[in-house]
Structures are given as structure tokens and as C-alpha cells.
Amino acid sequence: MVAVRADTTFSDARAAFFAAAPDPLDLTGGPAVDLSVRIGSLTLLTPVMPASGCFGPELGALIPVAELGATVTKTVFGSARGGNPVHRLTEIPAGMVNSVGIPSRGPAGYLATLHPRYAAFDVPTIISVGGHRPSEYAPVVAALGENGAAFELNVSCPNLDRNGTDIGSDPAAIREVVAAVRLVTDRPIIVKLPVLVASIADCARAAEEAGADAVCVANSIPAMPLDARTRRPILGNVIGGLSGPSIKPIVLRLVWLASRAVQIPVIACGGVGSVEDALDYFSVGASAVQVGTASFARPFAAVEVARGLRQRCLDAGVGSIRELLELDAAQ
């Protein structure tokens, strides 16, 4: 038994960088650049935000969070969960695999301990919500009430009503989740879809038809890393989610298909670490991007992407990302 010290956590003030922060953006002169994007009734000033689980209020001590379009919380479940056994993550070539298992203190715990720290940032808080059955989402959203500027429904969770296949791989279950959540909130609803689905178009359409304001494509890809020496699973949970650069070509296709299938905005998530990655996703139809794995090695990554998009527009003398892409395509 370990006697853990009282409820202290990491003290933000202690964090410091050796490396100089990227230079602030030169905003003198040039045309007005408008990078804003609408997710239902919510307007984000820039189409760049963190990916769920890859951001925490602790980062406020390191990076200018206000330069992001929004923050996105780690997924909140209805009941308290402890998370998975160790190891919970590892790195493989061009990717990481995590089986954190989404520890959660439930909505009350989130509101008491974490939300105040999110609310202190000058950007909207998108609260990620999870569930083990389609019926579990709406109560969580209702309990979070007006605290979320928007809700991202993480449907990459095994559906215990349907022998454990992901809720998000079943268009009917997606419809059920979104319709129920729509009844308890006026705030924008984003549905975050999994990769392993028979038809991403069908899943995105199910979300749109049931009243979602955006889809996020996609989550990490289930994978099973083995220890090269012992041939045993590295992760305590055996299986984890693969994220990072190696999933980008797979997710690019999904974003392309989803954005042809629905009218609502598609938020791309998968291997974004640079402006180039973001522009690749915009060029296949995304309206915004989320930065996940890249933030661990470079906490500035998301801010760099946001600044870089603006700088590219300024350099090209255009006012929006659409114009930037049109210019590129014309060349």
C-alpha cells in the first residue's frame, strides 16, 4: 500500500522551458485574415484546438492557450473510472499507443476540480463526453449543463448493450446518442467518430441527421504493440489506441469521405503536428483540426499550427484558408 501525499498536484509555476518560445506573430500591416470557423452557434477564432486527452490546464503555464480556437477536455464519463493497468502508453516508430482507459471522476468531479481551471482560459471549453451505452451520454451532458461551450461526444467506446462493438461504428447507435443529447442541450454537439467503421460516410450522416453540429474524424486506431524481446503485450490493457504521424494517411481518407458526405463541418484529428499537416486536412475538406500526440514532445505544437496558418495567409496576401488553398491549387 502506498500512502499518497495529500491532494496536491503539479505546481504549474515550476514549469520552464530551455528553448525560447516561438516568436510572436508579426501582425503589422497586411490584409485582415479571418480564420474563424463556426461549429453550430459557436464561433472559434482559429480552427486549431487540442485533441481530447492530449491537453490539460497544466499547459496554461507553458503555452498561450488563448491563441487556440478552443480547449477540449479529456473525456468525462457518468461514473468514476480508475483507468487501465500499467503500462498505459508506449512509443513505436511513427506512432504512440495509449491505453490510459480514460480515468474519470464523473461530471461532479470534473466540475469541482477541473472545470474552473478550463474556465479560466479565454477560449471556449469543449467538454468531451463518453459512455458505455448510448443511453449514458445525455445524463452526463445534462449534468455538465451550461459549463461546456460545446460537447464532443466520444463514441469510440465499446457499447455494452451490443456485445462491445464501438458505439461509433454503428450508425443507429450514433443516432440514438446524438438525439438524446440534443434533447438536453442547446450547445453545439460534435461527434467524434472512430476509424474502424464499415462506412465513415454512413456514420457521419447518422450524426448529422440526428442533429450534430459537427463531426470530428477520427480517434486513435486500436492496435496491439508487442515487446520485441519478450513478445508479450507492452500495455497492461493489451490493446491501445495508435495515434501520431503514422495514422495520418488513413485519417486523411476518412476526412475526405466524411466531408463529402455531410454539410456540417468536419474537424480533422490524426497526426497533425505542423501547418503542412493542417493544410493537407483542409485541402481534403476539413474545417478545423485537432492536435494530439504532437503536443507531448512539443507543447507549442498547436499554437505553432494556429500561428502558421495565419502567417501563411499573410505571406500569400489572402484573407482565409480557403483562398490560400485555391491559390495553391491554381499554381
Partner: protein, 264 residues
């Protein structure tokens, strides 16, 4: 990066200039080191490393920190290729370190291999606070025992044990330490605190000795990490807890824990 040199066959010493970290770091805290891309191989996750030594600024010489790490996998191999003079992105100091209980007069410190770096800060503190510290340096072979020179510099007494001569064997070591500290002379009585870093068995040894002498034990634990700041929840401590409640995180609640027997 001021120095980057091999230490024996398996380790590398890294000295970084950083006034801020040197002046604020507590014993037992760690850094997250972003490994620069190495010949086409991109390392995605930063690597946690203990702060082995803090050398404050003196006059015009800036403060430095010293790390020692083992080259074990892709990340540390790529790190080993970074040339002296390069700028390294480092986040820290991070985590909760070792803390001498008020009134501590003597301490037993225990480390093995690179784990010695995790507890060296406590030796520095002991030297500064006038605490009588004894440090057990364990390793496979005598040439793999780190920290000898550091302890000499700090005036910390050392007990070296190795697998080679069998002295690092758990039972042998336990018996030796009991014999050492079960005496009557002031310097032979039980230490006021035990601080340990290293493999699970060493932590268990420390816990047993702590129970035997009735003194507190502080143990530094390891875990795979992504953020180092407490938000990714990847670094669960290897301890058993209620499955519906999240257990402690090594990066934010540790790496140093008040421990009796950490259940691995």
C-alpha cells in the same frame, strides 16, 4: 548542452546550462527531454530523466544541471547522437521530490544503476543541510556503479555493492545494512529516513528496513510518460488501488512517494 560524454559502456552524462531549473529544482525531481529527430527517425514522446546534479551559478558561470542516462532504446539512442552545443528542449523541473522530515539528522539513501541519479539530489541536500547521509550504490559490475565521485565531492559516505561479488543480493544487503545500523554508537544507529530509487526489489528492501527501524521511507517510482505534467494520465503508479478510483500519477503525485511497500 555543455557536456555530452560516455560514462562507461552503457551510460551518458549530459550537462545542460539552465539557471532557472538549477535554482528551482528539488531533490528527486525530473525533466521531460524532447529528443530531436535523428537521421530520419522522429521520436514522438519526450523522455523523463532524473536531475542527477544541480550546480548553482557562481559569478559569471551559469547554473547547470547534470543528467546521466542509459542508452536502452530508440529514444535514448537518438538522444545520444545530439552534439554538444545543441539546444535541447526540456520541460521541468517536474514532479514531487524527496523531502527531509523536520529534524532529520541521518539518512540512508539507496540507488541502483541509473536509479542512483534519482536519489543523488537527496545527497546534495543532505550535504547542504548537514544531514549525515549514507548512500548505497548498487550495480551489476564495479564499473557500472555511478555516483562514486559525486558522493566523495559531497562528503557522503558510500556503501558499494555489486552483482559481481554477490553483495547486491537482497538478503545479503539487508543483513549488511541491519548490521551496519543496529549498533549503539551514534553513527551506527538507525537512520531517521530512508530514500530509495530503483527497481521494485530495492523499494521493498527499503520498506522492510523502514518497518524494522520504524522510520519513514520515500521511494521514487518510474512509469512510461507522455506529458510529464499530469494531464495525459499515462503514468499511473504501479500500485494497486480501487478500480473505480484513479491511482496516483508518477509525474504529478510522484515520482517520490511516501511508501511502505509499493505493491508492484
Amino acid at each position: 548542452m555543455l557536456v555530452h560524454e560516455p560514462v562507461g559502456e552503457r551510460y551518458r552524462r549530459l550537462v545542460l546550462a539552465s539557471g532557472t531549473i538549477t535554482s528551482t529544482a528539488q531533490a528527486g525531481q525530473f525533466l521531460m527531454i524532447t529528443v530531436p529527430p535523428h537521421a530520419g527517425d522522429r521520436i514522438l514522446l519526450p523522455r523523463p530523466m532524473a536531475i542527477h546534479r544541480r550546480r548553482p551559478a557562481t559569478g559569471a558561470t551559469p547554473g547547470t544541471i547534470e543528467l546521466i542516462y542509459g542508452v536502452v532504446g530508440r529514444g535514448t539512442r537518438a538522444l545520444a547522437a545530439v552534439p554538444v552545443g545543441a539546444r535541447l528542449q526540456v520541460t521541468g523541473p517536474l514532479g514531487r521530490g524527496f523531502d527531509y522530515p523536520v529534524g532529520t539528522r541521518s539518512a540512508l539513501l539507496i540507488g541502483r544503476g541509473v536509479g542512483i541519479c534519482g536519489v543523488m539530489g537527496a545527497a546534495e541536500d543532505a550535504a547542504a543541510l548537514g544531514i549525515r547521509a549514507t548512500m548505497v550504490l548498487s550495480g551489476q559490475r564495479p564499473d557500472q556503479v555511478l555516483g562514486r565521485a559525486d558522493c566523495a565531492e559531497l562528503g557522503v559516505r558510500t556503501i558499494e555493492v555489486t552483482d559481481d561479488d554477490g553483495s547486491s543480493d537482497l538478503a545479503t544487503l539487508a543483513a549488511m545494512l541491519r548490521a551496519e545500523f543496529d549498533g549503539a554508537a551514534p553513527e551506527r544507529t538507525a537512520p531517521d529516513v530512508i530514500m530509495v530509487c530503483g527497481a521494485g526489489v530495492l523499494a521493498r528492501l527499503a520498506a522492510e528496513l523502514g518497518a524494522h527501524w520504524g522510520v519513514p521511507v520515500q521511494a521514487s517510482l518510474e512509469a512510461h510518460m507522455a506529458c510529464g505534467l499530469g494531464y495525459c494520465h499515462g503514468c499511473a503508479a504501479p500500485v494497486r488501488t480501487d478500480p473505480s478510483i484513479e491511482g496516483p500519477l508518477v509525474c504529478a503525485d510522484g515520482p517520490v512517494f511516501d511508501a511502505n511497500i509499493p505493491v508492484v
